[in-house]
Amino acid sequence: MTHAISAVAGVLTWYAAACAGAQLLSDNLIACAGRGDTLWLVNSEGVNYTVARGDSLSWEGYLSYDLQWSGAVAFGGGRTVVPRRPRADIDNVNDLWVFDYRTGAASIAAPGWNARATKARGYYFVVGAAWTPSAFWLACWNGGVVRWDPAAGAGRVYYPDTATSWSIADFPPQQLADRNDTARAVFGVSPSVDSAGDTIVYAACEKRVRLLRPRPGTWDTLSNALDTPGVVRSFLGLYARPDAHEPLFARIMIAASDTAATVDTFLCRYDPVRARWKALRTGVTALTFGKGDTLYLASGSRVLAYQATDSGFIEKTALSASFNLRSVNNGNFGVISDILFVPHAGDADGNLWITSDTGLFFSRHELRDEITDSNLVWVFRSPRLRSGLRDSYFYPGILSGESPHSVCAYNLDKDAKVNISIYDWNLDFVTTIIDKQPRLAGKKQRTGRSTVPEKDFWNGTNSRGGQVAPGVYYYKLIASTGERAFGKIIVAR
């Protein structure tokens, strides 16, 4: 019952925000996740999705507003899950925002903690999530690792250094009531498989990394010894290949001593033979695994490609200038927050997705051994248009040699046949772009628009194919339902 009320309240909140016309921007992206053909992105206002294909240069999803970001997104099994921030300061649990990509339904779900039992034992927030076939794994602050099945809405708690698991509704059990340790505080999870092909889950706790083998329900603790002077202050993130238990990377805050005031964050690789973490480099904010032995690191506004070898890593190519593609704020380039390699099915290539504070980029033709600046493309987010042709425009509004095509963006309230014509300043007819072409209402389209970009564009020519003179032009968009709109375009070439 509580779950149902929570879900209804969440959906209503989401719906109200959507109706209010809030806009998610493509800036300030924090994290991304994806598999198959869908890429999910989180920013400070909500979660978005786009189709993870090289030929899709526009975001296609407009999903959640006022999501109250908590910083993680996971995708799998046709669903995406984003932990929400607590709704009130007094809450000690948080909800999950769940979107079913196959049905298009968004909902708010609770992991299922027993609120009364957990109330006195601190916070049980979900702070990280990852997917393995059939279930999400949730990293819970004070709650260990939870295997959560969204279809069943049920969770099972795996508590570090404890050989038993519990239904989340029964947690905490009596035998843990008096236990007071830091092991249960899990900040991140990274699933993988062991040499036998069974699922394993690495869990980042404050001082150590633990390894959960769900099938027997056992935990191992990895050493936190370093091959450099210093001590582990905290683990910030874990990166394990989903298809192999080696290698394992972590971002670790390292201090000179337990009492040192300053810390540095290193990307480290775990050496299982020596049971030590090897510090590789500082300044790394994200990591993703490419095909084969390729590894991509994000550092500031750079993407670095490495090749893993038995003796270490060989740096391949640095992309220091990649964000020149979209220079904003007087030349301040974006800072990368996350990167994700999505392999193409059936070949050796894939696309590298890059999220930053200035937007989303992907490498159009990613090659295994090569990244070049020109491969990177910025994927823009099309603004939401109000229905009924209350919003319409051509973009770009200035036709130039660099931008020779201008697409008409519009959103019909109902399916209709559409005519778009161009006129000059004297309103002499110039050309018809589309004539009585059927178009779907925007609400039936994933993009929220009725536009067919491949057809609803003007290239600055008249009805006989000749180039028009530079100047101001006007368009008339009229639908068979009676909706109509007018606007302006400049031809400057």
Binding site: Y393, G397, I398, S400, G401, A409, F429, P470, V472, I490
Partner: protein, 345 residues
Amino acid sequence: MAKSLWHGSAGTGIAFCLLLASGETAASSYLGGAGGAWLRAPAGATALAMGGAASASPAYGSGFWNPALPATFHDSRVSLGTGLRSLGRTDGFIAIETHRKRLGMAGMLIYRGDPFLDNLRNDEERLLANGAFLALAAKASLSYVVVPQVSAGLSLGWIYQRMPAYFDGSSESMSYIGGLDLGVRIRPAERLSFGLVIRDLNTVLEWQFSSSDYAFNSAHADTVPVSITAGSRMETSLLGKPLVWTCDLRGYLSAVDRKSAVLCAGAEWRRWERFCVRAGLMDIDVDADIFSAPRTWASHLAPAVTAGFGLDLSQVRSGLSLNYAMATCRIWAGVDQQIDVVFAL
């Protein structure tokens, strides 16, 4: 007599029309996109109210309509006006016309533009800074009465245009000196006038567009279509009150890729001593499609219906008059309005 002269005037127009139609002419739709579109709109509320037909004998603004006229005026005139057209287009003008014996002179500055370019987007669909399109044309005219029934004149033009051309909000501008207009006015009878005007000879609009990528820099030299206008004006009466008919047939000889023509007609009825009403039809496509492809012709047929009035304010100030006009928008996006004041000195 007057009736037969009117028939003669109409016949001249029709003949001119057929002359254009017999060649490689097409609907004025083929004119759209040619350079200097803003030069094709009528200037002045009186002319607009009468369907944009004022080439035979404009009340004022002869620098735009027919440079042969100033020499025939009996007084000097200063006129100024402004207009707001549909879709945020604006215009304005100031004109002065004077004469000395058989020599007439006129000067006119015409403004056309769109100061409301406020929903332009870049290629990322981000809103650009508001911009404005500005176009100015200045014409200096000289005319001469050759014989009492015939006067001739010419005017030289200067054109300036400025418009947003880049996503960063900066604009590009161009100016040109040298456009030439030639005009003749024939008055075979006291109540009948004909005008023949060739406009925009050798008028070239040259743009230079630069780019962050040198490969996309471009220069664009765009020739404004030369137009030949045959106009007529006949004075008659209706219900015992003075009635003026005007008709202009304007052919464009160097449109974008084909020739085209439009017909404009209007009337002014002086029912009251100090007040007159005007009405007209503007920009009726006239071309070979009437016969060869009537459906195509009809689909692009979008004349504007015009109306207006003139008010003699001599009681306020000697020689002062006020004119107002409104016209339907050819694409039904609003109405065009214009208001002028004229001082006859």
